[in-house]
Each structure stands twice: as C-alpha cells, then as structure tokens.
Subunit: 193 residues, 2 copies
C-alpha cells in the first residue's frame, strides 16, 4: 500500500485566461490576468473575503470568511472528457466560470490541497482544493446547448473529479496566455481513517 | 490499497493559548486569542502577507507573499512524545512558538492540508499543512535545558511528523482555553506519482 508520495514538481501551459467582470459567473476570454492578493480585479469571485454560501453549511449563510476561492483553474483535457461523456461538441471554460485553463497537467482536478502553481512571470496561486460541480454550472451549459435540458443535472455527474481547482493568490503578478507554469506538489500522506 | 478516504469531522480541546508579542518567536501563555484575518494581533507571525524565507527557495528571499503561516497549532500529546524521545522532562508549546495547543486529536501533525478547524465560539482556521521542524526551534529548546546542546539538532530529527500545523484565519473570532474545536477533514485521495 502506498502511504506516502514524495514532493515533486510538474509543469503545464496556460491555454486560456478568462474573467467574469459582470454580474454573472460566466467569464469571457482575455489575454492577460493581473493577479492580486484579492484575486482578479473586478472579477465576480475577487475579494480578500467573501460571504459563506451553501458550500459551507457549518457557517450561517452569509458569514464573512476569507476567500479561498478567488480563482477557478480548469484542465482543457478534462473539459474535453466531460464534453465527450455528455455527448456535446465542446465545453468552454468560460461557460462554467473558469479563469485559467491549463494544458498538459494530468488529472489536474486531483492535485492535492496546498499545491503551489508558479507562473513563468512570477505570480503564484495556492490551491485550496477541488471544485465541486454544481447545478448552476450545469444550467449555464444547458443554456448554451439547444435541446439538452438534461445537461443541468448531467454535468454534475459527468464533471465529478474533473471540474478543476480553486485557489487564492499567494504572489501577485501577471499571467498571459502561453505562459508556462510550474506546479509544486508537496509530500502526500493520508490521514488515517 | 486505500486510494480514497471520505470526509469526516473529529473533535479536540484547546489546552493552551500563546502569543509572541516581542521580537522573538518564543510565545507566552494567554487565556484568549482574538483571531483576525491578519492572524493574532501583534504576534510575530501576524500579517496578511509576509516576506518569503528559506522555506520558499522558489522565490527570491524576501519576496512579498500571502501569509499562510499565521498560526502555529501543536498537539500536547505529540510534544510529550518528542520530549520523551529527546529524554527531556517536557517540551513547552511556547518554546517553539506555538499559538494553540490542542488535546485529543490523534496524529494532529498528519492532518491534511485544507482541513478546517472550527472553534466553539465561531472562529475558524484553515490548515495550510504540517510545519517542518527547524534548528531555530531546536536552539530555543537547547537554551532552556542545561547541558543538552545536542537538542538543537536532535529536535529536528525527533519532531519530524510531530511539529504541528500552520494555518490562516478563515473566520474571525475569539478562542479561549478550554474551548472545543471541530475538525473537518475533507475527502482525501493521493495524486498519482
């Protein structure tokens, strides 16, 4: 039984960047993001803090808390896999509010909490963990694929373990499409059941 | 082979609280900590950001970064184990800069990154991960145990996997000695080697 995996560093490439500057969580492509400690300036999910929601049933809804979900990071490969299993032509990162689409990172959504993504211009994001797929994202997909209302619920199933990661900005700086990223994975061990 | 462990919640008790209000990282007992988004007000390790140091060789030393190491959390049981293996009478949490000493949490130092500690009065700390034992702490112990200069290096060995956790404040609030804490451990899985 594997009970420990040593620390190591892997690499990836920034294939797309997106921001949600309006009221909706749906994002739009951009060539550069200027990451700050509060996240992406003007983005729907920016802020040093945020009100808690249904993801945190242990707090009264709306409780102020530090915002560990500033940035949504997706894998273009995983999105293609989800699209295939849903039998749709494509699943664009912006439909589900992605901010950074990476290419070349195997099983991106399984990267462990605490993982550090260091982009080639210096900015860095600390990974909080995997992002749970929700019906709101499923609905946004269904809205874009005529005749497939089933996608609202279907996405939640199909995207389990493939819906990317959320994290917060550890080091400020710019990220541009085409940049490389070093991904530092810490030593891993399971806390006993 | 265990490849996944479901989320669950365990419990513990706050046995001691400590803060380092001077220049040294050595802390002193207090009955209450008022946790803020910047950590423990006035504490040596407080701040929304901090300069990087030798723990982050991937940044130029002194690089501003978000402070994920605001609070040091120790297990009184693990400290007793380390003391025993070093053949010293006791190892006080404050000697090595602890802020919160917990009792009743098995293998505290092995709790995984992203773990959430919710204290009974509402404050919450998000765990970044385990704290690597360093010579500076070893030296602080050696300074307090006459005739045992070997403890400076000995501590680094003896405390591996037992030196507690570091984390940042997710929800502000007070913590008092004797309070209980709920510890939410997320679903765990190893990222493949």
């Amino acid at each position: 039984m594997v009970d420990r995996i040593e620390a190591r560093t892997i690499a990836g490439t920034v294939e797309g960047l997106f921001q949600a500057l309006g009221d909706s969580f749906v994002s739009a492509p951009t060539s550069e993001l200027a990451l700050t400690y509060a996240g992406i300036p003007g983005d729907k999910h920016s802020g040093l803090t945020r009100p808690s929601n249904s993801r945190e049933p242990w707090y009264p809804r709306g409780t102020p808390m530090r915002n560990e979900r500033q940035v949504s990071i997706l894998s273009t490969t995983e999105l293609a896999e989800v699209a295939e299993s849903l039998r749709i032509e494509r699943l664009a990162p912006e439909w589900i509010g992605g901010n950074i689409a990476l290419f070349g990172v195997p099983s991106l959504s399984l990267l462990p909490p605490r993982t550090l993504m260091i982009f080639s211009r210096g900015a860095a994001i600390r990974i909080d963990g995997d992002n749970g797929p929700c019906r709101k994202s499923g609905k946004a997909i269904a809205d874009r694929v005529p005749g497939r209302p089933d996608l609202e619920f279907g996405f939640v199933q199909a995207a389990l373990g493939k819906r990317g990661l959320v994290g917060w900005v550890e080091r400020e700086g710019a990220v541009r499409v085409g940049d490389s990223v070093k991904i530092r994975i810490w030593q891993q061990a399971l806390y006993p059941a």
